[in-house]
């Protein structure tokens, strides 16, 4: 990093000689301070993650280790026999419903923006709308669905309604990542396909999408992980349930996050059940993140990066 004496004040003393020692004291000191700050900031950023994980594991692992956690709901009179099966199933069920609705919408819109409307005015209008949707706070999305489904259409709270609110949150994230992935597909592949007399839609389905599929899946998994941990729509559009149900049409429906929020409204948050739910949720969400990471690594390798 150091260069010839011309940049160092020390050179004045020793003329005509090359000074390859460290730069002057204050510069080295400033460099040292900056480096120390970077390391300090990084450590400080890692601490909360480790700490959160440690708290969840140390306080919640006990619940997870008992078999009843995975096999029963919270319907027993004996709190020690409580499980989270109903909430785990509920969280996954809502995640699946949300994905099934969101993925086609996100993919079709991304395809339209990249493959059909690139550079057109309508693309800018839609892009702007997607930007606005990306910034919608989850509680606002929940209020909207409540105003639509319950107040206007006369429906009731349900897992369907909660999923719809989550769709508003999931579509923009999946859409944006899909858009990025489609843009990474070189135009030369599209041209090669057109030159073979393959229609445009077939080109998109059979050439463009397969080329970017793992990148798109990464985005989907990350979007899913985000909505699975999202709680605000669930407290607005669902009521807590201690019993096992898979019917998405009932107003009482349990999920992992609402075990926690419900405990707060009951006033007893620091319990093994709550921390067990937290730990289970963390495992679920982080698992999805690690899967996404693995898929994207394979994808980047194939794209030669």
């Amino acid at each position: 990093m150091t260069s010839t004496s011309t940049t160092s004040p020390a050179a004045d003393a020793v003329e005509h000689e090359l000074d390859l020692t460290r730069p002057s004291g204050s510069r080295t000191a400033r460099n040292g301070c900056a480096s120390a700050f970077m390391v300090f900031a990084t450590l400080l950023a890692v601490i909360p993650l480790v700490w959160v994980l440690w708290s969840a594991i140390s306080k919640g692992i006990g619940s997870l280790l008992s078999a009843s956690w995975w096999t029963s709901a919270m319907d027993s009179a004996d709190q020690a026999k409580w499980g989270a099966l109903h909430a785990i199933v509920g969280t996954i069920e809502i995640g699946v419903i949300t994905s099934v609705i969101s993925i086609p919408i996100a993919l079709l819109t991304a395809i339209y923006l990249v493959e059909y409307a690139r550079g057109k005015k309508i693309a800018r209008v839609i892009s702007f709308a997607v930007d606005v949707l990306t910034g919608v706070p989850s509680i606002v999305a929940a209020l909207f669905i409540f105003a639509l489904v319950v107040t206007t259409l006369g429906g009731h709270q349900s897992a369907w309604a909660a999923s719809l609110a989550l769709v508003i949150l999931m579509v923009p994230t999946v859409l944006r990542s899909t858009e990025e992935m489609l843009k990474l597909v070189p135009d030369s592949l599209r041209e090669a396909s057109f030159a073979l007399g393959i229609p445009k839609w077939k080109t998109i389905v059979s050439v463009v999408l397969p080329t970017s599929i793992s990148g798109i899946i990464t985005g989907i998994v990350l979007g899913l992980a985000r909505v699975m941990g999202e709680t605000a729509p669930l407290i607005v559009l669902l009521q807590f349930n201690q019993y096992f149900t898979v019917n998405p049409n009932t107003p009482t429906f349990a999920t992992l996050p609402t075990i926690i929020s419900n405990a707060y409204t009951q006033g007893s948050a620091d319990t093994p059940t709550v921390w067990g739910a937290a730990l289970t949720l963390i495992i679920l969400v982080m698992g999805l993140n690690i899967i996404a990471k693995a898929i994207s690594r394979r994808y980047l390798r194939r794209m030669g990066k």
Binding site: G119, L189, S193
Partner: protein, 258 residues
């Protein structure tokens, strides 16, 4: 399997920009015609209008006629997709589909257009790869990704892919410009064989290559920067390189500009 191309009063535009001006030329079946000229003279643009590939770029359009054995490619009700099945194209950079195996790359045009018979597809793959002088090099790894091949092999794979749909005409847009000399030689040999079945039009920057592979050569030029490109002269390759009619052609051939 080969057809005559006639281009009549072809003008090409990108939005408001007039890219190429009134081109008139004829390409005979089972011949190789080379398009040469300085960068930006519109030779690649003209090539892409021969199978309506220029339409992929937003805002591009053209006027005039391109006749394939008398049928106008720009006539009413003509589907560009149908045009491209009859007029195939090989690009400057080899572009095999990365998500497909070597075999699937070759038969992509057929498979994605509804041919399902596996045996027939396998036969086509072998025939097209043999036709592209690639069969012996890849026959043991047909299921590997096309991206695993070398640059020259990839380009021959793309040629095999283009010929597998049995077009009438094969357009090549500087197919060797990204390749080393040995791979280039292999492709040039291949072009000599291809003309027995196809009408070949090749754009090249390399005048020696034009002299080696083509029967006829068309020289394109710009009057000045910002002016549309135009066809200066088209003639037998021997004539162009020994005794061109136009002064501009001679200047270009002898390396005085461009």
């Amino acid at each position: 399997m080969a057809k005559r191309i006639e281009v009549k009063d072809l003008n090409i535009y990108y939005g408001g920009f007039h890219a190429v001006e009134s081109v008139e030329l004829t390409v005979e079946p089972r011949t190789v015609t080379a398009f040469i000229g300085p960068s930006g003279c519109g030779k690649s643009t003209v090539l892409r209008t021969l199978n309506r590939m220029h339409e992929v770029i937003p805002g591009a359009y053209c006027t005039g006629q391109v006749l394939l054995d008398g049928a106008d490619l720009y006539g009413k009700g003509v589907d560009p997709v149908a045009v491209r099945r009859n007029v195939g194209m090989v690009f400057q950079r080899a572009n095999p589909f990365p998500a497909m195996s070597i075999r699937d790359n070759v038969v992509a045009g057929l498979r994605l257009n509804g041919v399902k018979n596996h045996k027939a597809l396998d036969e086509v793959a072998e025939k097209a790869l043999r036709g592209a002088n690639l069969w012996d090099e890849v026959k043991d790894r047909l299921d590997r990704s096309g991206a695993s091949l070398s640059g020259g092999q990839q380009q021959r794979l793309c040629i095999a892919r283009a010929t597998a749909v049995e077009p009438e005409v094969l357009l090549m847009d500087e197919p060797c410009s990204a390749l080393d000399p040995i791979s280039t030689l292999a492709i040039e040999d291949l072009i000599n064989e291809l003309k027995e079945k196809f009408t070949v039009v090749i754009v090249t920057h390399n005048m020696q290559q034009a002299a080696r592979v083509s029967d006829r050569t068309a020289f394109f030029n710009l009057k000045a920067q910002g002016e549309p490109g135009r066809l200066v002269e088209i003639n037998a390759t021997d004539k162009i390189f020994s005794n061109p009619t136009e002064k501009a052609t001679e200047d270009y051939i002898s390396g005085r500009f461009g």
